[in-house]
């Protein structure tokens, strides 16, 4: 029996959390099959019958829009003999037909026809053999979440303070809506899934070490001088929110404007933004870096994209990068976002691959168990407790990582 609370002691966490199969098993039960997990965005399935295959932990699910326009999330498993009812990654179907014995379900999950029905006991009811829905499904601004557990706090409560930051991101669109239909870059790495949330909002500390060249190239291409963000540490940027979420809030850190005049498309975009949000808010949205967001346990909202983390085993993880297009923005702005995304992210990008290489080396190094503790203590003496129960620190502080682990410890303990 693992004693998770003993493995997480404030500023130090134990190496076994990244490699012990028993910890991984507990995570499946206590986290992945318990809490709200992000599944996909509504815009991925715009029409009736559209579906995408996803996974929650190790369990295959399908997110589908039914004939009435309602979005459902179902376990991807036939109620007859357990075959996958949906084997394509995405597409459109009038109904799900299991390939094994032809049982067919509507996109709302109802069993339409078991085959050779005359051979089944007449007392059996079709209504008892519909696709199994995830017990809880809910959405916020188009982001669809589901939970394998019927019990727990509402999505609203789960997201809590993270909603404010999700809003800021969505509001980069002149209609307030995003479009997540630009495809998915899929990457795998040999390392624990928790490295991804830990690393993704910590670029201020590791950036100068592993991303220096890419940052320089980025500045050269865009005319944006990012160095101001790294020269001085800024307070109140890093935040841990109750619920294990993490944020880098850059609202207090206005960037120097690009050293070149804005393009025609950018001027039009600014006008559209002002028309919707008013001059002041539009200015704020356009001159500060959007927040970086992590929503426990698997959703990241970073610069150009939505990133999801999918655990495979203690030392293997899948990562999905889905670029976010801004509905209503000029086409050139969205194409620019795609090119920016390819510059930074995916298997062949200039930034995130260095992070992934670090995670793989991390996994190897953590086999060395001579002193099996990792230290996450930067800035602990200056953590500022916030009224919401979260806390904040300076840009390079490990404040949010401590917040993640504190929440993780609670959830893992409760799930024991």
């Amino acid at each position: 029996m693992i004693d998770v609370q003993n493995l997480i002691q404030g500023t130090r966490i134990h190496g076994s959390l990244y490699r012990d199969p028993a910890v991984f098993e507990r995570e499946l039960a206590a986290i992945w099959y318990k809490v709200w997990v992000y599944v996909g965005h509504e815009s991925e399935i715009p029409n009736a019958g559209d579906f995408v295959r996803r996974a929650i932990g190790l369990q295959p699910v399908v997110m589908v829009r039914d004939a009435s326009g309602k979005i459902g999330v179902f376990f991807n498993r036939c109620r007859h003999r357990g075959n996958m009812v949906c084997h394509l990654e995405h597409g459109n179907v009038p109904a799900f037909k299991c390939p094994y014995h032809g049982w067919t379900y509507s996109t709302a999950g109802d069993l339409l026809a078991p085959t050779f029905e005359e051979g089944y006991d007449s007392k059996l009811k079709r209504a008892d053999f519909g696709l199994t829905p995830l017990p809880r499904v809910d959405s916020y601004r188009g982001l669809v979440f589901a939970s394998v557990s019927p019990d727990g706090i509402s999505l609203d409560e789960h997201l809590g303070g993270a909603k404010e930051f999700i809003d800021l991101f969505m509001d980069l669109s002149p209609t307030g809506r995003i479009d997540v239909q630009a495809g998915i870059q899929k990457v795998r790495y040999s390392g624990n899934w928790k490295f991804m949330p830990e690393n993704s909002l910590e670029g201020d500390y590791h950036g100068p070490f592993i991303h220096r060249v890419a940052f320089e190239l980025h500045s050269k291409r865009t005319g944006l001088d990012m160095s101001s963000l790294y020269e001085n540490e800024i307070p109140d940027v890093i935040r841990s929110l109750p619920g294990g979420h993490m944020v880098e809030d850059y609202r207090g850190a206005t960037m120097a404007p690009p050293n070149r005049p804005p393009s025609e498309a950018r001027r039009r975009y600014a006008e559209l933004m002002e028309a919707r949000y008013g001059k002041e808010k539009a200015q704020q949205l356009l001159t500060t870096m959007a927040p970086l967001i992590y929503v426990f346990p698997n959703l990241l909202y970073l610069m150009t994209h939505i990133r999801t983390v999918r655990p495979v085993s203690p030392d293997e993880t899948f990562v999905y990068y889905q670029p976010v297009l801004l509905e209503g923005a000029p086409d050139e702005i969205n194409t620019e976002r795609l090119r920016m995304h390819e510059f930074m992210f995916g298997a062949a990008g200039f930034i995130s691959p260095d992070d992934i290489e670090i995670m793989e080396r991390n996994q190897i190094a953590l086999q060395a168990a001579g002193n099996d503790w990792l230290f996450i203590g930067r800035g602990v003496h200056r953590d500022k407790i916030l009224p919401d129960g979260g806390s904040t620190g300076f840009t390079m502080d490990e404040n949010h990582i401590r917040g993640f682990w504190k929440h993780y410890a609670g959830v893992m303990h409760a799930g024991a």
Partner: protein
């Protein structure tokens, strides 16, 4: 006649395999486009994400970064060899040629061997008795799957 195309592709492959990235860069025209689509082979790059979609500037940056010594997945540089075959050539107007070929690329790094497999469509331009690459599109068979890092030239 096909020999000159095979010779060119073989030379390009050697430069990529051996990390001779600057020489590889010299094979490109000014209006270069280096494209590795993602999810499907035929996508609209204005609306859909690619694995790589480089213009000349981005290509120069890619090489600059690979040679900077700072790319962690290039420490050490992956050892790799690729085999190119199934070459099909179609002449276009104005001395331009489309050459399609299949490749199998074995890479070895940090104790892990990986096979990259795909089809390449080169758009070559005749320049002073040789060729330059104007466009290159690489169709990976696993461009819709979870792939490891691609921190080299393909």
């Amino acid at each position: 006649m096909p020999d000159e195309f095979e010779a060119f592709l073989t030379y390009e492959a050697r430069l990529m395999d051996e990390g001779r990235y600057r020489e590889w860069l010299d094979l490109w025209t000014e209006d270069a486009q280096y494209w590795v689509p993602c999810n499907e082979d035929d996508i609209d790059p204005a609306r859909a994400i690619s694995i790589i979609y480089d213009d000349r500037d981005r290509l120069v940056q890619r090489v600059e970064r690979l040679l900077s010594g700072s790319v962690l997945a290039q420490q050490p540089r992956p050892r790799m060899r690729r085999v190119i075959s199934n070459i099909e050539v179609s002449e276009l107007a104005g001395g331009e040629v489309t050459v399609e070929s299949n490749f199998i690329l074995g890479s070895m790094r940090a104790g892990t061997k990986h096979l990259w497999i795909g089809r390449t469509i080169h758009h070559l331009r005749r320049v002073e008795g040789s060729f330059m690459m104007a466009r290159k599109k690489v169709l990976l068979i696993d461009n819709d799957a979870e792939i490891p890092l691609l921190q080299f030239l393909i």
